[in-house]
């Protein structure tokens, strides 16, 4: 399962910009910009909508700019005395789950991609199997299990089931398998131990993959609704999506203003994390001293 790249020699430090001087660049910008408009329009509407009243949001056809912009939705959400708790819980769970995945998915992915051991096939099969089982089926048995372990309404109960996700392992495995084996061979020749190879040589090369993994995991954890809902028995363990559903959705009607304000609040940290991590997406795969 390890692959070797066609050119055996090592990679020179990659230059990120200007590798292709494309003549039709202006037209590329135009095409990308048109696509951009389509992509961001609903998001823009969502943010603008969070400043509208529920009544205005129920109008047809929908309006774009708020007729009389109001901060009332945000005021109401932040007014809830428990808001910092919900926000804090979401942050705690999402950060821990993301860190856990960054570390453990990488270790497992590396082992599957580059190391020869008897369990390769089995572990990869388990990873894929977990990935492919529809979540709805295992939901209730998982909850009963967690309850029997007395983990309901605890932070471990919220975090542990997601600490290493199969999608993360799969991502890291694929990415790492594209790295040249020679790096590892050379390091072994130099006498480096397995773990040092992993931490000192492989991980630094995984910038883009780790950034991708981090943003994916953070997003999934941050927006997770159903599991925290059943795993938390008291309000002080609620995460943000639960709290927002609580405030905005009634038995027979929803308050769309609160809903959109909540959705915006939920979206902002994910965007922030994305912005922070995004320079790693195009980090060159630079290596040193292999030649």
């Amino acid at each position: 399962m390890a692959s070797t790249l066609a050119p055996a020699p090592a990679l020179a430090p990659a230059v990120v910009t200007d590798q292709r001087r494309t003549p039709g660049r202006p037209s590329l910008y135009v095409a990308l910009s048109l696509g951009l408009v389509v992509m961001i329009a609903p998001f823009v509407w969502m943010v603008l909508g969070s400043f509208k009243s529920d009544a205005e949001l129920r109008q047809t056809p929908p309006t774009l700019w708020p007729m009389s912009p109001t901060m009332a939705n945000y005021a109401e959400l932040f007014d809830r005395q428990n808001f910092p708790i919900y926000f804090g819980n979401s942050v705690l769970v999402a950060v821990v789950v993301t860190l856990g995945n960054v570390v453990f998915a990488s270790t497992t992915g590396y082992a599957l991609a580059k190391l020869k051991f008897g369990g390769t096939r089995l572990v990869f099969a388990l990873v894929l199997a977990t990935l492919m089982v529809p979540g709805m089926a295992t939901f209730i048995p998982q909850f009963v299990l967690v309850s029997n372990l007395n983990l309901t309404n605890t932070y471990p109960g919220l975090i542990l089931p997601f600490l290493v996700t199969p999608i993360g392992i799969f991502l890291m495995r694929q990415f790492i398998s594209g790295l040249p084996d020679e790096l590892i061979h050379a390091a072994r020749v130099d006498g480096a131990g397995e773990f040092r190879i992993f931490f000192r040589i492989i991980m630094p090369l995984c910038g883009p993959a780790l950034a991708t993994l981090a943003i994916l995991t953070f997003f999934a954890s941050w927006n997770n609704f159903l599991w925290p809902l059943v795993a938390a028995q008291s309000e002080d363990k609620y995460t943000l999506p639960i709290a927002l559903a609580l405030f905005s959705i009634g038995q027979n009607r929803a308050d769309y203003g609160l809903l959109l304000a909540g959705a915006t609040i939920v979206a902002l940290p994910v965007i922030a994390v994305f912005l922070v991590l995004q320079r790693y997406f195009t980090q060159g795969v630079a290596t040193t001293g292999i030649k």
Binding site: A2, L11, P42, M46, V127, M136, G178, R188, P208
Partner: protein, 321 residues
């Protein structure tokens, strides 16, 4: 330690390049191999531990449930249920609505996956080629992923409104009488597909961007020097090197799309007349009705489908050499 390391390095190049799939494996284990093997098991142990505790049991339990007639009313005494063998599965395969869901899911996947992957790849390559404003476009293309499905649904519904929607109005300018999109049994599913492509493009684009970074410049420059056109460089150099990433993208998107749920749930509730009913929606309904045994059976049929399709993809996109 050094001596052992040197003996260890004699093997690797040959044995390893034969991947794990041939009888070329040696039977003896050198200390280096053992060290490697031990390290690998240690590195995998967190996943295996969590799997054993949180996943293995529930997966088996759910599988077991699919052979019983367990319902939500049995929740307090789950072992006191009737074992019905494959009756759930038989009933499932005899249900017209289920087959409708399978067909819809199939169409969704066959059209949606290539479309999403092509668009995401195009976006990634495009973004990789522009020197400025990369960050802006990256964030922008990723925004649909973080836009609440409720907000997205309102905007898309407005777009697809039969009488006053943007799309039909625009079509009207060029003299085309647009269909009733979400209310038309023929056009509802394509509308849902378009929305899914829109939503999932950003995530795949990010993955492909990461993959594009592993392609060394010299390779492409060498190709340019050899006179290959941009398209040829893309097709014969970039794409093959992108295989692992493409495989990941294809598998993940396929697994996600086979279980597509949110778009029809929010936009059409599976209608009109079951034309956008997906397998996941069908399963969700059954869980909602409390037919846990039956719903588990449907989930595992979906699982088998996912496994089958994924196996095919691995075969097609498997790394060579």
């Amino acid at each position: 330690m050094t001596a052992a390391a040197t003996t260890g390095t004699a093997e690797p190049a040959t044995a390893r390049s034969r991947a794990g799939n041939g009888p070329a494996r040696r039977s003896g284990t050198s200390p280096a191999r053992r060290r490697e093997s031990r390290a690998a098991w240690i590195l995998c142990s967190p996943f295996l531990a969590l799997f054993a505790v949180f996943t293995a049991g529930p997966v088996l339990a759910a599988f077991g449930m699919s052979f019983t007639d367990i319902r939500s009313t049995d929740l307090r005494s789950p072992l006191a249920v009737g074992v019905v063998g494959i009756e759930n599965y038989a009933q499932l395969l005899g249900d017209d609505r289920f087959w409708r869901a399978v067909t819809n899911t199939g169409i969704f996947v066959v059209i949606g996956i290539p479309l999403t992957m092509a668009c995401a790849l195009a976006a990634a390559v495009g973004l990789n080629s522009i020197p400025r404003l990369r960050g802006l476009f990256r964030v922008g293309y990723y925004l649909p992923v973080v836009t609440s499905i409720v907000a997205a649904a309102v905007v898309w519904r407005f777009l697809l409104q039969p009488d006053s929607g943007l799309l039909n109005t625009a079509l009207g300018w060029i003299g085309v009488d647009g269909p009733r999109w979400l209310e038309d049994t023929t056009w509802a599913l394509p509308s849902i597909i378009a929305m899914a492509v829109w939503r999932n493009l950003g995530f795949l684009m990010v993955v492909f961007l990461a993959g594009l970074q592993t392609i060394p410049n010299e390779v492409l420059e060498a190709g340019q020097v050899d006179g290959a056109s941009r398209w040829q460089r893309f097709r014969y150099l970039t794409l093959p090197l992108l295989r692992p990433t493409l495989l990941f993208g294809a598998v993940i998107t396929m697994i996600g799309y086979l279980q597509f749920f949110e778009e029809p749930f929010v936009m059409t509730q599976g209608g009109p007349l079951d034309s956008t009913l997906s397998i996941s929606l069908y399963v969700y309904e059954q869980f909602g009705f409390g037919n846990y045994g039956f719903a588990s059976a449907a989930s595992y049929v979906l699982f088998v489908l996912i496994v089958g399709v994924t196996a095919i993809q691995f075969r097609l996109l498997r790394e060579k050499g």
